[in-house]
Amino acid sequence: MEKIFTKPESLYDVPTHYCPGCGHGIAHRLIAEVVDELGIREKTIGVAPVGCAVVAYDYWNFDCSEAAHGRALAVATGIKRVRPENVVFTYQGDGDLAAIGTNETIHAANRGENLTVIFINNAVYGMTGGQMAPTTLLGQKTSTSLEGRVKEKHGYPLKISEMLAILPGVYYIERVSLDSASEVLKAKRAIRQAFNNQINNLGFSLVEVLSPCPTYFGKTPKEALEWVKLVMQKEFPLGKIK
């Protein structure tokens, strides 16, 4: 009998360390499915971030590098320039890409590096215990904004995808969400697009993935998905940005 649904070859058959209801597992799987479908597993090089997904290479069955916190796009630049025939992507959280690594993000994008970026935005620092992220919403309570994020004290949620879209070096940016099955399918299409762009030498492509963190949203997995859909998407509207 033909199997029509299996674990992707690009994903190891192991349990992950992620919390129940976390979006990372889904995002990892979408990347693995796309890599399999494009037939590029043997030439893909992933760059893992510092953050909850630091050991993503324990789950992906292809070459990977770590990067210091925020430096994934500098590391990926080095790899891709040396090996333009390989497919190189970074997987970064909001703290990594939009706080400590903002400089590397903007300049890799501005150079138009032919790279694929999967940007996981869950509006909070997960690994270090739920502190305020650059993308934390106004009013959102975190361990470093106990009364909720206040614009006068903490500034505004950073819309880095919109900022990057104005750079001529950027080819493609889309914001997607993991809050429902239909949105997950759209997310996969965007990820596939971002990998295809690199294969076709079209330049810098980024997919921002709104992702639930039930643990530090202080919600159940189901409530966390609803919060991503009803609250987070108001601040971070879905769709193609560039």
Binding site: C64, E66, R71, G78, I79, V82
Partner: protein, 349 residues
Amino acid sequence: MQRKRILISGNEAIAQGAICAGCNFYAGYPITPQNEIIAYMSKYMDKSGGVFIQAESEIAAINMVYGASAAGARSMTSSSSPGISLKQEGISYIAGSRLPAVIVNIMRGGPGLGNIAPAQSDYFQATRGGGHGDYRLIVFAPGSVQEAYDLTQTGFRLADKYRIPVMILGDGILGQMMEPVKLTAKKNKAGLRKPWALSGCRGRKPNIVKSFFLREGALEEFNISLQKNYQLISKKEARYEGLNLLNAKVILVAYGTMARIAKSAVSQLRDAEKKIGLIRPISLWPFPQEPFKIKNKKLKYLVVEMSYGQMLEDVQLAVSGRNPVEFLGRSGGGVPGEEEIINKIKKIL
């Protein structure tokens, strides 16, 4: 390559040495007094088929080098003191990920923004790792433009051999001064085979380049393996130049530019029939222990540095209290001159 002599600066010699060693990736950020390196690499890397990137910061540059080395390239970055401070996190990651890389520091005055005068005050930072964690770099201190060219090539070879970051530690004088250099190397692009490098997992299991060891005991195991590598390097790679060591009453110890000035003081005093010698460490880590084993109770050492006593501590450790160790040093743009050295020697003789 035809063997010919060309007149170039120390900075250019380092860049040319890198190209001759098959360096195929360079990323850097401008800072005085090493700007000739980035300019030279920009001019010649494309021609030699390599990659040149002017990075947005020293931090980005060292992390680009991390990526390029992870992908198997022979990679280099260069900077000067404040910029090298910025690179320290990246250097620690390179050491922790067992990646080869060459890092050039053409030292200037510090602390802080300091000034752009030559200095040797980054010795501690260079020889003690510099960033976080228990790690070392091989550190070479060229004493001439020719040696800057030669040691850069040796640096690439040893970086690959031991999978360790190598630092070329010069100062503003060495970087700026011009001397004839004999181009000795054949272009060597191949380097070593690097089965650990990232290239896509065709026909093999995936390679992972990382410095993160979460499982209990794993990091200690890894750190022990690093230390074994360092012990091997200490045994095999210490380099120095010794001058008139037999029967010397005073042995000067100096490296880089400072050793050139010390050398002329030595020859003046020898002309006056004083028994003066010189030890010039060429590798600062591993620090050469061998020349300090001379058994002569009347011998005194005089360490001369463009700092307030950094290599001094390594000399004291090597001498282990067998003989007195005196010191002469200036920093912040001050360079101990020949006369100052001679006066100091006369005082301690």
